[in-house]
């Protein structure tokens, strides 16, 4: 497998990075990088970690070309070399990371998740109301991994806060069975993209074919998270198998949520190199527009509208000729 870290990868331009991922030879993971400056979204670090952990587990080789870029210390401080047991050959003075980033974490069970949520709050050094949506997103995404992904390496999480834009960028990645395989148990997605679209639709879960879910799964987690990103007018990416869906920035004055993700301003592709598992990347602008209670009102409306549609469909009408 080959991954090249270009000069800059963020969710807006991540398509090129994903397309360039070469997954052909699984005996070796070769990682190269831009020589001058590398700036990547945390989701990219999570993806590399997921691949690296699989290589380590299977005693396969990781060839990480020595980084020359001036920004190379970022990768060291995010813990990439540590989690993969690689020698970065960098001498970095570790500062208290408070206020900037959450280094790469591998979360394998509920108690690790609870500890992580408690520990990450001071790391971000944000006002409590700004931390709420971040906690929410990480809890829901990581629990999705536990419940659906069957990932032996658990969930890989990291995040970076950008003070200038008041934005947090989050990555949550697993190397499990992927969304299509999860949903195949009860639905019939024809492609990875079709499975992603189903997974983003409220009421659909991989644990039952019944709309509304089971006692423990409502099938609403991803819809809530996509909606949070939408009201913060930022990016949301989900990539699994060969498919990817990206919620694009929406600058319309009034935000309207849709239960059908294809009605949102988005891009999609179903011919990406195959990713074993699921990749979620999120940008969340933490300014005033991100009002969690407002989001809940909007979500309630979506459910009401969808109920009206369902009721319409239920009632038979007389035939007139």
């Amino acid at each position: 497998m080959r991954i090249h870290l270009p000069n800059s990868v963020w969710i807006g331009n991540i398509d090129q990075f994903i397309s360039s991922f070469d997954n052909s030879n699984t005996n070796i993971l070769e990682i190269t990088s831009h020589k001058k400056w590398v700036s990547v979204h945390p989701v990219v670090l999570c993806m590399i970690t997921a691949l690296g952990l699989l290589m380590n587990k299977n005693n396969k080789e990781i060839s990480f070309e020595k980084m020359e870029a001036r920004s190379k210390h970022y990768f060291e401080r995010m813990g990439l070399f540590d989690v993969l047991n690689l020698d970065s050959e960098m001498k970095v003075e570790h500062h208290e990371p408070t206020g900037r980033f959450i280094p790469i974490q591998i979360i394998k069970n509920t108690s690790m998740l609870e500890d992580f949520i408690k520990e990450m709050i001071p790391l971000l050094h944000l006002q409590p109301e700004k931390v709420e949506p971040i906690k929410y997103i990480i809890s829901e995404l990581v629990r999705n991994v536990f419940e659906h992904a069957e990932s032996q390496n658990g969930a890989i999480v990291c995040a970076q806060y950008y003070k200038k834009s008041n934005t947090i960028r989050i990555g949550v990645v697993d190397s499990g069975v992927g969304i299509k395989n999860t949903l195949k148990r009860y639905y019939h997605p024809v492609s990875d993209l079709d499975a992603i679209t189903l997974a983003l639709t409220p009421g659909i879960t991989g644990t039952t074919h019944k709309i509304g879910g089971t006692a423990t799964n409502a099938g609403a987690g991803l819809f809530f998270i996509k909606s949070l990103t939408k009201i913060s007018r930022d990016f949301f990416l989900i990539y699994s198998g060969n498919g990817a869906y990206k919620l694009l920035k929406d600058n319309k004055k009034e935000i309207k949520l849709f239960s059908d993700p294809l009605k949102d301003h988005h891009s999609k592709k179903e011919s990406y190199p195959h990713w074993q598992g699921t990749v979620v990347g999120i940008d969340l602008c933490l300014n005033e527009t991100l009002n969690f209670n407002k989001l809940l009102d909007l979500i309630r409306n979506v459910y009401r509208e969808s109920r009206k549609e369902q009721n319409k469909a239920k009632y038979k009408k007389g035939k007139f000729i």
Partner: protein, 95 residues
Amino acid sequence: MEINIYQKVGSFAENKDIAKKIRIKEILPILDANSDIILDFKDVESATQSFIHALISDVIRKHGIEVLDKITFKNCNITVKKIIEIVIEYMQDHT
């Protein structure tokens, strides 16, 4: 009968395993005994939809929506209240 949610999950109610345990070991037996129940959310700052769903959806599914006459949600802040309302509303569509 009153159940203090904060004592079980802390200020961020997200652990669905605990929600399930509360539902099975406490809420359902109390309701089965035809008693009323108070779920006290004092000091719970936020909750995930998944937690609330795991806590009450199956209660509504098993006992019907009338069971809400026997359940009182106490000391909910606005966020927790809205999440509970969403779960109650969508459960009414699927019971």
